[in-house]
Amino acid sequence: MAKRRAGHFIVLLAAVVFPAVSQDPYLLNLLIMTGIWTTSVWGVRLIMSTGQLTLGHAAYMAVGAYASTLLVMKAGLSFWLAFPLSGLISAFVALLIGYPTLRIKGVYFSIITFAFAEIIRLIIVNWPSLLGGYGGIPNIPAPQPLFSIRFTSRIPFYYLILAVSFITYLVMVRMEKSRIGTIFSSIRESDTLAESIGINIMKYKVIAFGIGCFFAGLSGSFYAHYFNFTSPEFFTIWQSIYCLIFVLVGGAGSALGPFLGSFFLTLIPEFLRVAREYEPVVYAIILILVMFLLPGGLITLPARLRGQKKTH
């Protein structure tokens, strides 16, 4: 346990001091992307902890991105207000979808999240006057200065997403260890049994889905203001599937899994110097290899190498 704490501390420390070592915008961008994905993907893991597989997570990032963009550009709100609001709006949309869908056991949830992701994209594409259509919305302002920190270079963005994803991580770990985390895993292990001892399984599945999508919304909002641009192309069905892949490749059994998966899979296409078109193929191959050779994800690799069989 203490060893694990120390490991987490080292990762955090390395992340905090990194800009002092290198201010290479290219590397910073990759790390910021890792942070964006990690924040969102932790939501996927949370939803998975109730035994539900979401296949449309990027849609809730899109909701966050567009909500935040409209709140800032049309309603004139400050980014610092629009940012949490966009998370709440995503969570609200998730509740609307989750209520009818999570009532039914089985694969319906996966199917609906998959189909709904396409609907969100279609709404964006078919509503150019408000949502910019295919072309997207350009010139989204960067966040307002915070305590005289101005968001003009990548470093403040880096620290912002680091803070956001670290807080997300703390929330996730806290939840996992609390009563609600126990309830979630009891639903995952056997929803019939959980129901029989009086747990309102639908309520908890909806809660997990809502919170998971809250973080997707935050991540989407950050994305829009970081790139100053949002477009339906960022939030396709592929991105949703990537979210799931990041969790599974990193390892769903550990709270660090989503981070590891996002980190590894954001960096690997860059280091392999593969063109953008190859990305789905590379991800698909990595996913299939992990599924066959390392079902617990990369997080179980050290234990595997030490020859211990780790079970969770």
């Binding site: 597989l53 694969v107 189909a115 396409e118 069905i237 193929v281 698909a284 599924m291």
Partner: protein
């Protein structure tokens, strides 16, 4: 609205609906028997279209021969995918779904690299039009309608009356009891994959001359199949037929009267079904 126009929209809806039926029935078959959401099904359809395109345009094979060959090629591919990728995860629900997604991504991604993103088209196989109740209908569409009806009838009869079809239904109902009766579950699954994939290949071959062929067809097709099977009832072939036709008509009439927003109607229907009849129109409780 005048009657001729109505007939035109109706026939368009019928054709579109049968397209969805062709794609969704194989998808539903797999779910009904193997409890697997085969996300690669759409990619099989896309490959069927490409196989037909290559055979017809590059090798000059006769269209119907190309269609049969495409069905065989895709069926073999389906069997291989089952043997190497699906079978190891057979009784694991979520992992099998994820591996199917991985295969879909792999096939879709490779197709994009190999064929490029440009639309390909097959030169028309049937020309001419016929007049039905005053509406002008192209021969091509009529052929698709006829072929789809034949394939669906064959599938329904096969599952209902043939020995292996009955074995499939037995496995779908209770895998262990079926195994105790001496039905080979694994060989039934293999056969089921072959039939489903052949249907996807046939759908690809039939629709290739009507639409453009490109690597993005697969994702689009699987999305439609999902909508259809939820409306009709997961795992039910009559459900896939009813759901597919319903979606076809709704989209055809919707496109005529509502425009682009129609794409969303299918999803609205899905939500209605889930709220009021979650097992789908033809599903069992």
């Amino acid at each position: 609205m005048d009657f001729t126009f109505f007939v035109q929209v109706f026939v368009n809806g019928l054709m579109l609906g049968l397209t969805y039926v062709l794609i969704a029935s194989g998808f539903s078959l797999i779910y009904g028997i193997m409890r697997l959401l085969n996300f690669a099904h759409g990619e099989f359809y896309m490959l069927g279209a490409f196989a037909t395109y290559l055979l017809c345009e590059r090798l000059g094979v006769n269209y119907f021969a190309a269609m049969v060959l495409s069905m065989i090629i895709i069926a073999v591919l389906g069997i291989l995918v089952y043997r190497f990728f699906y079978r190891p995860f057979r009784d694991q629900h979520d992992p099998s779904l994820v591996i199917a997604l991985g295969i879909a991504m792999l096939i879709g991604g490779l197709a994009l690299l190999v064929f490029g993103e440009k639309d390909k088209s097959i030169s028309p196989v049937f020309s001419g039009v016929i007049k039905v109740l005053g509406a002008t209908l192209s021969m091509e569409r009529i052929v698709v309608i006829i072929m789809a009806v034949i394939l669906m009838a064959a599938l329904t009869f096969y599952i209902k009356f043939s020995k292996t079809g009955q074995a499939m239904r037995a496995v779908a109902q209770d895998r262990e009891a079926a195994a105790l009766q001496g039905i080979g579950v694994d060989s039934t699954f293999t056969l089921c994959m072959a039939i489903s994939s052949a249907l996807a290949g046939a759908a690809g071959a039939l629709l290739a001359p009507l639409f453009f062929v490109n690597p993005f067809l697969g994702m689009h097709a699987v999305l439609k199949a999902l909508v259809v099977v939820v409306i009709g009832g997961l795992g039910s072939i009559p459900g896939a037929i009813a759901g597919g036709l319903l979606l076809g008509f709704v989209e055809s009439f919707g496109n005529t009267f509502l425009g682009d927003i129609t794409e969303i109607l299918g999803f609205v229907m899905v939500m209605q079904v889930l709220l009021f009849r979650p097992q789908g129109l033809f599903g069992h409780g």
